[in-house]
């Protein structure tokens, strides 16, 4: 899985605003490293950045490119370039059974139902979970649902995987298993988190604050500054400012 420039993510003067409110601005980034982390407080704009890169929203200014494609326009092409693991599996799982859920992505890229089901079966078997195929998705435990979402993404073999707060709400053993799994993935991963621990192992960490790049560089250095700032803010009183 090539992690070079041609599969990389580029933001050129990108910005995003909704109903006159600017959420992201002045983003000039070229993301080609294998493990990238994006940290920021809640409300800093990091989830909107994920949506921008994923093409779920179009930039209000500037450009976004993923593997040379325009994400918000070329939805089909993006399926090979990018996979997304959302925070809440219940917002991601679309089908009543595991087999259907896994097969869906492959049918989206043109495979037949039979081919897609076959590929899904092989993947499940290789994970020691062949018996999951007909299981009802709503009977899976939370950790199992996370896992199913990850499998659905991996089955598509995308070049980059975006992870939105992948460890949020998971118990420690599940976190450890997931972290191990993610670290071993051959494709590029881009992890969004408010928790420095989630991105400590990344090659590059970008700190987003108030919709702008506040810091960008090696994980240790950026996270040290981030943690210090978060601690400083935590020492102050809670923000009482009302947005309305």
């Amino acid at each position: 899985m090539a992690a070079g420039k041609q599969t990389g993510i580029e933001l050129i003067g990108a910005g995003y605003a909704v109903a006159g409110k600017v959420i992201l601005s002045g983003l000039d980034l070229t993301l080609t490293e294998s493990r990238i982390g994006i940290v920021g407080r809640n409300g800093s704009g990091k989830t909107s950045l994920l949506r921008l890169i994923a093409g779920l929203v179009a930039p209000s200014t500037g450009q976004v490119r993923v593997a040379g494609l325009t994400p918000s326009k070329d939805r089909r092409g993006m399926l090979a370039a990018l996979g997304i693991l959302f925070q809440n599996p219940d917002h991601q799982i679309l089908f009543p059974t595991v087999g259907e859920e896994l097969a869906f992505g492959l049918r989206q890229i043109g495979q037949t139902e039979a081919e897609a089901r076959h590929a899904a079966r092989i993947l499940l078997a290789s994970e020691g979970r062949a018996h999951w195929e007909d299981a009802a998705t709503h009977t899976l435990s939370q950790g199992q649902r996370h896992y199913l979402c990850l499998l659905s993404v991996l089955l598509m073999q995308p070049q980059t995987i975006l992870l939105d707060e992948p460890f949020a709400g998971l118990d420690l053993p599940t976190q450890a298993r997931l972290a191990r799994r993610l670290a071993a993935l051959p494709q590029r991963t881009l992890t969004i988190s408010h928790d420095p621990a989630a991105v400590a192992g990344c090659d590059r960490v970008i700190w987003i604050e108030a919709g702008r790049v506040h810091a960008d560089g090696a994980a240790a250095e950026v996270l040290a500054r981030f943690a210090a700032e978060m601690a400083r803010l935590g020492d102050q009183d809670a923000d009482t400012h009302l947005a309305g």
Partner: protein
Amino acid sequence: MLTLTSPVKTWAHRLPAWGKLLALCAYTVLLFALQAPLAMAVAALLPAALIASCGGSFAITSLRMLRPLWPFVAVVVLWHLWLGDSAGGAVVILRMLAAVLAANFVTMTTQLSQMIALIEWLARPLAPILSPRALALAIALVIRFIPVMLARTEAIAQAWRARSPRKPGWRILLPTTLAALDDADRVAEALRARGGAG
């Protein structure tokens, strides 16, 4: 998702869904064409015989599915007794029961997947305005989300009970509906993230 298909495998389970549906339509038309009580009684024997041929527990379930009709039966019985028109009342009741039994027979002997496939086949002429993929996806989404929304409604009801001695009333309608709206937005996004419904 639990369906009304009978887990008891009968001979009728093997028949094609479209055939059963066609036969049901023909039978229902026949029922409404008949007028004489005797003819109606004879016609009503058909679903009764079909159900009886499928065994005891099947028959019990079939009869249980008639329960929601009892208010109508009661009204008709009282009405026609009052008017002294027992024959007319018998015709109405027999026709109602026969039609419902026959229709339920088809439902109980057809797998959900077969019925869905039949619906999708019937919807093919609508392809220009309703893509078959969108229909299949819509059906899957409803089935997928009923248990999720049910669990959330229960959670909302519990949140209510944690703060009020009264039973949850109409007020949980609002968070339940809001949750449906929010879910719709997020699932749309998840769908877009996986290539869309196009």
